[in-house]
Chain length 352, copies 3
Amino acid sequence: MNKVFLGIVIAGLPLSVAGTLLHWSSTILFVVYCVTIIALASFMGRATESLAIVTGPRIGGLLNATFGNAVELIIAIFALKEGLIGVVLASLTGSVLGNLLLVAGLSFFIGGLKFKRQVFNVYDARHNSGLLIFAVIVAFVIPEIFSMSLNEERTMTFSIGISIILILLYLAALFFKLVTHRGVYQAGTKGASHTEEETPEWGKGKAIGVLALSTLAVAYVSENLVHTFEAVGDTFGWSELFIGVIIVAIVGNAAEHASAIIMAVKNKMDVAVEIAIGSTLQVAMFVAPVLVLVSLFFPVSMPLVFTIPELVTMVSAVLLMVVISNDGESNWFEGAILLAAYLIIGIGFYLL
Amino acid sequence: MNKVFLGIVIAGLPLSVAGTLLHWSSTILFVVYCVTIIALASFMGRATESLAIVTGPRIGGLLNATFGNAVELIIAIFALKEGLIGVVLASLTGSVLGNLLLVAGLSFFIGGLKFKRQVFNVYDARHNSGLLIFAVIVAFVIPEIFSMSLNEERTMTFSIGISIILILLYLAALFFKLVTHRGVYQAGTKGASHTEEETPEWGKGKAIGVLALSTLAVAYVSENLVHTFEAVGDTFGWSELFIGVIIVAIVGNAAEHASAIIMAVKNKMDVAVEIAIGSTLQVAMFVAPVLVLVSLFFPVSMPLVFTIPELVTMVSAVLLMVVISNDGESNWFEGAILLAAYLIIGIGFYLL
Amino acid sequence: MNKVFLGIVIAGLPLSVAGTLLHWSSTILFVVYCVTIIALASFMGRATESLAIVTGPRIGGLLNATFGNAVELIIAIFALKEGLIGVVLASLTGSVLGNLLLVAGLSFFIGGLKFKRQVFNVYDARHNSGLLIFAVIVAFVIPEIFSMSLNEERTMTFSIGISIILILLYLAALFFKLVTHRGVYQAGTKGASHTEEETPEWGKGKAIGVLALSTLAVAYVSENLVHTFEAVGDTFGWSELFIGVIIVAIVGNAAEHASAIIMAVKNKMDVAVEIAIGSTLQVAMFVAPVLVLVSLFFPVSMPLVFTIPELVTMVSAVLLMVVISNDGESNWFEGAILLAAYLIIGIGFYLL
């Protein structure tokens, strides 16, 4: 599998450069870009996994989430530069939905096919549940509802205020996890995360090098990818919303998909859940507000105002995950519920 | 009590036939039909209880739910045939509300008057919570929200897609409970469901015979019942919505009411909760999508699009039940909360 | 600190009387009234704390909640008399938000700075969660949704029905806690509420006397406070909504703020949580419906119909608190989440 990805990168990167310069058809370019990003993301995933083994499960989880969302952030900034605000909000939605339903769903399902019951840290799960409710239901739903009675300027002011609060609370959450309450809530996990010594695939130096190079390559390809959206949408009859919510999110989150499932199959559910939910939280509490603030330097500012279908699907996904993760256990059927929810939402956005 | 029901059936069935042929006033017929169905349902309930003792609590719970919903399904198909889509959706709503709030509420309340704290399997409760959130918040709310921006054809396509996913997930849930994870999650219940040997009222053969005959009789009476709705609504000033949500649901769920409360008084809360919540899930994940698919063969197709009041009350009921059942315990006051919620909702639909 | 409050009362009460008679500017009067009420509330808080020590944590918590809400109720009745229905509903909203997010948030945060993990009775927390969902999501959201299709008279009928049900369920909750299930659910708390003997600041007699006198004084000042709202709103550009949700709620809940935080710092989280959530429930299940019924005797009746922003913020706050309090533990970060939510909502109502 790794060789396949290596082959794709070796073929895909030159093709991306050549295709861009030679103005190939948008559809072909779109496919080349997407496949190349996914293959590159697999390198980011492997590099991150190596680093994760070196640095331990918690920092490892954070690293996984960060570099999964690096792809996301990079694509979004290029889309923002083009004024594609609808696509950016849709891709944030898609990232939340993709991480909560598709990544966690696949992890629970595939992990559950191998293990009857899988456990993860119930304290972390509840901590994350509080943040999910905060980020999606307080910080996303409220501006949407209030914006109905606010003019554009006040909506933007409100969005900036919320963005700053989100970022501060995100930093406070890191401070809580890594400093004041590091290791305090560990009792919940039994057996799952034994410190069975694993040898990383790559050394620290090589892993960082691969991570840096593949991130740069992703940035280059992403910039070009964004320019193909319009033409591809026209060709296939896909709306901006569907491209953002489903396509960009799947491509942008390929790294999480890969590494979360690998962890689930290894019965390291702590890390798998940290990737899926941690990544969601990073998108909602860090990537989204950073993009709002970054957009102030671009011609078109982006308020933190999602559409109603985006909000309703995110709220549903959050409630589903909060209830399902509340007991610190998973099995294949819980994965099936999450995947079924993703499928319904995917069909909905396709038809919209 | 059993003799009373026997008397009602012996008197009610001939009266139903005679009244139908002689075209009595709709109000009288409506009362005769309703009372007869409730009495017949009590036979179905007793037959099911006998079978439940023979087959064990889990299959027993499923049997209870299935034959309670048989009445429901039968009435709904006849209503669908008449094109009464509003009544069918309302009766589905009423069945969800009735099972979650009235059946569970009465079980918790009456059981709680006798026992200070009653326990039930907390794993099942959490499993069911995930499915409740999935069925009502994902599968019911999302099509309603999306249908606001979809034309009729796409709404119907979306409804069909969701219906198929619901049925598949329902079958997967059965497979999970009865095959892959049978008996895995039993630790939670202590003492409540001792296998104190009980002797069934009827033998297997007689129970099945009674079940079959009373189901047939219910079908006959239900068909006629549906034709009285309009005239009765006019007479009493009841809306289609109120008839569907409250009247049809109470008549259609009389079997569950009876057997769940009997189980609660016997401190068999596992079975009582399985009846109430299992029945809700069967309505939401099986009866509702089957009716959507069946409606494709009738002149008027039924999309899975409830009205806003129906959705809001179902979502409230689900959230209430998820929070209340989360600890695997009940008492009379939790029953009182559920009943109070049912009362408020009943008044609301009456006034609407 | 106590001497400061004593000074404020000694100075503030005569100033309030003098200022009212001499028709000082509304802004100055508004400040004088608010500060005086807060200082008076601190006396009510200390008197209540003394009584709480005498009567034990549970009755103590109820006493705290009752006399905190006495201020609220008094201000609301005077506002109702003036026909300021919008302000009253806003102040009820503000009280729910203030107790759930600001009072509990400050308690968790400040208590958490001193103690790494604080525990409270998980049974009470879950009992309260059920009631929060009932009161805010069933009893507040449903009339709002239904009122969209009801005329004014039916909306008022519905409001009266719900109010009676709320009050009856509130009384049933007291009966449950104090009579049928007194002391049944105590296992959950470990260590936190040791019966370390504390000596009350004041004896029973003096405490009751202080409580009675300060309540009377609060009533006098509140009546005058209500008359300054309009002028103050015009001066500062504050909407009726902002005054009600933020200002009145902070002034009206100062007693809870003070006593809950004091309890949290003493690691008596049972009492702190009982004050914050118990007070919310008393506002939602007792003060609000009583005000609806009282309004029938005033020229303008008040239906139980909040605005959409009020409802959405209350529902968010309830979901957040249910998820955060579900494990019976708190820490500074959970407090930070609640405070961040309050800040976002406060900015929202300010901009509205």
